[in-house]
Symmetry: C2
């Protein structure tokens, strides 16, 4: 590359990351691309505050319930109910009917788990909705992911090798069956805190005792928006913020299969983890969590990776 | 707060961060606010690629040199020269005249140091410009900042205290004299690499031997756009990407005043560092670097800080 040849800012030969990073950039900026449905989406508004983003295909279905969803200039207003409880009930009624009629394929993934709907992270919840419907309404979703790692003494004096625990998702999961995942991760359900969710998932998925999981440190968050396809059509907008925790694990702890969301666990050297990212063997947002970990621990070099700033920015979008 | 009371996602009582974070958010998103000059700025274009963003006050001056800057539909095209060397010369000529005529106050900070101008980090440079002029043309600027920290054994068994080295800027600096700064930091000049810049600045500013500085690990980058005021008017657009390095320092190393950019050094416990951020005693972008460090090392808690995701996103804007 010209810039590198001149000894300047430009990147060197790279470490084989660039293709994988390009794929992640494409996926997690899909809603900003020309041809995306981004500009056709309708903001979902409650009392003047935007809480969601609805793709045209979903807006068509919601218009059939004018007691709950009212079309206003440039948006869709949720008018069913005047308090969180009433709104929750009104929207649940609409979703139940759409599900019964088989109108929106995504409602087939019904979880009987509710998410709180907020205009922003720090704001009070305005209603709760079924988890499977969150991307249909394009509401903010929050999750907690755990990077569990081990430092092992190497051969050379003082040298250390870092290894990472990973989970393989059950072949029976509705989404991304059989792909690699972080050791523990989950969406934050109504009424639960962030660290609380991480500790709970660590027990449920990997049988990690709460005393151990509690030692994990919060180290930032990732945030992104992307479009989900439903066959040929844009079906939903995923707007997600994942809170990240790092935990250095004792060498003698081995995760065990818990609730069956994860079927198997691996303790891999970071080179092997990177290779799995490169070959696309991760659930995509878990790949992003891993890349963020590698980046924060010095395994990506800005002098060698031309897409370094673009990658960092795409992982931290304003939602 | 309602959400916290309900035991949900919402934040708790906080740790006294919120006001400081609000100030940083305001500063580093100034170009996105209503009333900002953002939408009046003209993209600066070379052969179809945007390389800068020019505020109206500067565009007025550049229009007086139609051999070099040509107004085109919705932008300003740099037509002086057909290769990097010719463009560098043409723009340098314009800047020299504007400086001699005292037309743009910012040119008074002339450094005789050149930055490479690129449409994006990974692209080849299209010309070089004087550092003081980079914000006038709104070109991407790159910097390298070092967080130098020490781990000290605490009283309790196995407990560790983390301390951070900081620099106080010379009272003679043209910008932010006397404020707190990272131990070493600098803009990346034409022809220099990122790590190379960090190692060089560590020697120049703090007399840190290159063998020690080279051990620092790249841990990410911060990127932001903000507007600089020139009296009553928007004078420039700062579009900057800072590459961040962390270095755990041996306890027996003490920085020394080098080239005089820093006048004094402090080794502070992280609580004291945080307090200095809260009370606004840092050069603003160095405060951002420190907040990112504290965040990556578990000293900000998403369960307690309502602006956590907004802060993380504002530090990692797409440029």
């Amino acid at each position: 590359m010209a810039a590198a040849a001149a000894g300047g800012l430009g990147p060197g030969s790279g470490l084989g990351w660039t293709a994988a990073i390009r794929r992640l950039l494409r996926q997690f900026s899909s809603s900003q691309r020309p041809g995306s449905s981004g500009f056709q989406c309708l903001p979902l508004v409650i009392e003047g505050q935007q809480v969601g983003l609805v793709v045209p295909a979903v807006a068509r279905e919601l218009r059939a319930f004018p007691d709950v969803f009212v079309e206003v200039a440039g948006g869709l207003e949720l008018r069913g109910g005047h308090c969180p409880e009433e709104r929750t009930e009104a929207v649940a009624g609409v979703l139940a009917q759409l599900r019964a009629q088989g109108r929106l394929a995504r409602l087939g993934r019904w979880r009987d788990e509710v998410y709180e709907v907020r205009p922003s992270f720090g704001a009070p919840a305005l209603l709760n909705v079924e988890r499977a419907a969150a991307p249909l309404l394009g509401v903010l979703q929050f999750g907690a992911h755990l990077n569990a790692f081990v430092r092992r003494q190497g051969d050379a004096a003082g040298s250390q090798e870092m290894l990472m625990w990973l989970a393989r998702r059950s072949p029976h999961k509705a989404t991304y069956p059989g792909l690699l995942d972080n050791l523990a991760a989950g969406g934050i359900s109504a009424g639960l805190g962030i660290k609380e969710t991480m500790v709970k998932e660590s027990w449920e998925e990997a049988r990690m005792p709460p005393e151990l999981a509690s030692r994990a440190q919060p180290v930032g968050c990732l945030s992104y928006t992307y479009e989900e396809m439903d066959g040929e059509e844009f079906g939903a907008v995923v707007r997600e913020c994942l809170f990240i925790f790092d935990l250095e694990m004792p060498e003698d702890f081995t995760p065990q299969v818990g609730d069956g969301e994860a079927q198997e666990f691996y303790l891999w050297p970071l080179d092997e983890v990177r290779e799995a990212v490169n070959s696309g063997r991760f659930k995509p947002n878990c790949a992003l969590v891993v890349v963020d970990f590698l980046l924060r621990h010095g395994l990506l070099h800005p002098d060698e990776e031309p897409l370094y700033p673009e990658l960092v920015a795409v992982m931290h979008q304003t939602l």
